[in-house]
Amino acid sequence: MRRQLLGLGATVAGLVAVVVSHPGKAPGMKPAATSKAAGPPPQVSGPVAPSTGGASGSATGKAENYGYGTLDVSVSVSGGRIVDVSVPQLHTLESYSQSIAQQVIPMLRQEVLQAQSANIQGVSGATYTSEAYAYSLQAALTTLGFK
């Protein structure tokens, strides 16, 4: 009995230590407006209109490494609205990750078109993919001066 309690106490201690020491992650999929620097500069095509009213054009965010692979997100904006999102580049280390990403990307696209921003919920079971998608998308939107 004493040993069970000892083990239980140690388990709780280990759990708390890891959770507390972990750099806190913001709930939700809200990426920082300025992505973590480095990487190739985002490519912009079309007229960039960093003004109020309506940004237009399309841009591709920087490639994000999300552990299972890398992806970048390309976004088209017209009249202040996100009209299309796609993933021109997707490389995964492993074919299982590839098949997950292929399932998830259309769902993320749908979320972005609905939310009209990079502030999306993400898809469960694909936390890292969703995060990388949101970051790359935010980078592209920033270069377009969107919002």
Binding site: R3, G9, G122
Partner: protein, 443 residues
């Protein structure tokens, strides 16, 4: 001078080990918790996937702990003993198996819900999408098969040898599952430190298994080159096997310990069975005494002189080192007499041991002349308790034959029923728990 094993580590080593293992479990679970975001828990399949990751992590961690338990690394072995190891093994085993099974089910369900596709479709997509997932699928099927075979009612119908062989596949399953953990596990992807720690832990435990389950037995087998010298009948169905070997003075073994024996003949070489030494080695000979209860033990009685023998061990914590109080009593049921016989040899002169030998009839008493002589030299005495089980109360016999039973250590060895009866008697006589040392013979 014969070599003797070192003094076993103090029981507080177990407490420290429990704390370390607990912290590790907490950290493993915690590392999964931190990979999850709150918003995803509210998504379709979110809770299932989160719980699936958690149970996979916890289950695999517990599997690692079990692997350490079966590695026979000496400190663990000496503190827990055979009885303790088996008890822990049985108590723990359902957890990793259940959690890993839940891991597979929950993740299939979760991903199916997230992708809005059928469970069967999702399961087959998962299993076949990559090499690591295919390996993991094979692993979980093997684990579930072993888990099912372990259910008491099913296991009872299997031969011990089949069961043992099936068990070996657990090593394969754990190895197959490893790749998908570090390549796909959310706690390890993008967390290189966690990945390194996890890999190091598994490699280290695997190395311990290789050294202590394979390396050391091989070294000892080759050093001592044991072979059957003589097979001598002791009683109906009970034989002593006398082996001869080299350098037996270097074999560090205590009375009451056992080896896993592997007789290298056709049909027997592939299985090892535990038998206690029925006497401390007297170079160039060692002796074990075996009761015929199955195919294997039957075959032991027909061993030809010259048969080569491989050993694993010595194992067991049923030794004189456990003795703490001033007096001592030894209780042997049936073939449990072998451990008591060799343990008696380790007791000092003037230790005045009281030995109770329990058997159904006089002809089932084996080695009792030797025991009487060893006890006499130590100024102790031997009581023989005969009769069918329903007519004999061990509690009454203990009260009758053993004075000062509150200042004594008790060493009990025999079949499970006998050991349990004696332990119950000890409890009702208020003998302190740490004064009772026991070893069960599982037939």
């Amino acid at each position: 001078m014969l070599s003797r094993p070192g003094i076993p580590p103090h029981p507080w080593v177990v407490d420290v080990a429990v704390v370390v293992v607990g912290i590790g479990l907490g950290a493993a679970v915690g590392s999964t918790v931190t990979t999850e975001t709150r918003s995803q828990l509210s998504q379709p399949g979110g809770p299932e996937i989160f719980l699936g990751s958690l149970s996979g992590m916890a289950g695999t961690y517990l599997a690692l702990v079990m692997l350490l338990l079966v590695s026979r690394v000496p400190p663990v072995e000496r503190v827990l003993g055979q009885d303790g190891l088996l008890r822990w093994h049985r108590r723990l085993a359902p957890w990793p198996l259940g959690l890993i099974g839940a891991h597979a089910v929950l993740l299939i369900l979760g991903y199916a819900l997230a992708a809005h596709i059928g469970v069967v479709h999702e399961a087959s997509a998962m299993a076949t999408s990559s090499a690591t997932m295919l390996a993991a699928t094979v692993a979980v099927i093997v684990m579930i098969a072993i888990g099912v075979a372990s259910i008491h009612q099913i296991r009872r119908r299997m031969r011990r040898e089949t069961w043992w062989l099936l068990h070996l596949f657990m090593y394969l399953a754990l190895a197959l599952a490893f790749a998908h953990e570090v390549v796909l596990g959310p706690s390890f992807v993008a967390h290189p430190l966690a990945r390194i720690l996890w890999s190091v832990a598994w490699v280290a435990v695997a190395a311990l298994v290789a050294v202590y389950r394979i390396g050391m037995p091989l070294v000892r087998t080759l050093r001592h080159r044991l072979q059957v010298q003589e097979v001598r009948p002791e009683a109906p169905g009970i034989v002593s096997v006398i082996l001869s070997g080299r350098h037996l003075e270097r074999l560090a073994v205590s009375g009451g310990q056992f080896f896993e024996w592997r007789f290298l003949t056709r049909g027997m070489w592939w299985q090892a069975h535990p038998f206690t030494l029925s006497a401390r080695p007297s170079p160039p000979y060692v002796r074990l005494t075996v009761k015929a209860v199955g195919d294997f033990t039957d075959a032991v009685g027909r061993l030809e002189p010259g048969t080569k023998v491989a050993i694993e061990g010595p194992y067991g914590a049923f030794t004189v080192h456990a003795w703490r109080r001033s007096r001592v009593a030894l209780l042997a049921g049936g073939i449990g007499v072998t451990a008591v016989r060799s343990l008696l040899e380790d007791l000092p002169l003037r230790s005045q041991p009281i030995v109770l030998l329990r058997a159904t009839s006089a002809e089932e008493l084996v080695l009792d002349d030797e025991i009487a002589e060893l006890a006499r030299v130590r100024r102790g005495r031997v009581e023989r308790i005969l009769g069918p089980r329903h007519q004999v109360s061990m509690e009454r016999e203990i009260v009758k034959h053993i004075p000062h039973f509150r200042t004594r250590d008790f060493f009990i060895c025999g079949p499970e029923g006998f050991v349990n009866e004696c332990r119950r008697a000890m409890a009702s006589l208020s003998v302190p728990k740490d004064a009772v040392h026991h070893e069960v013979y599982r037939l």
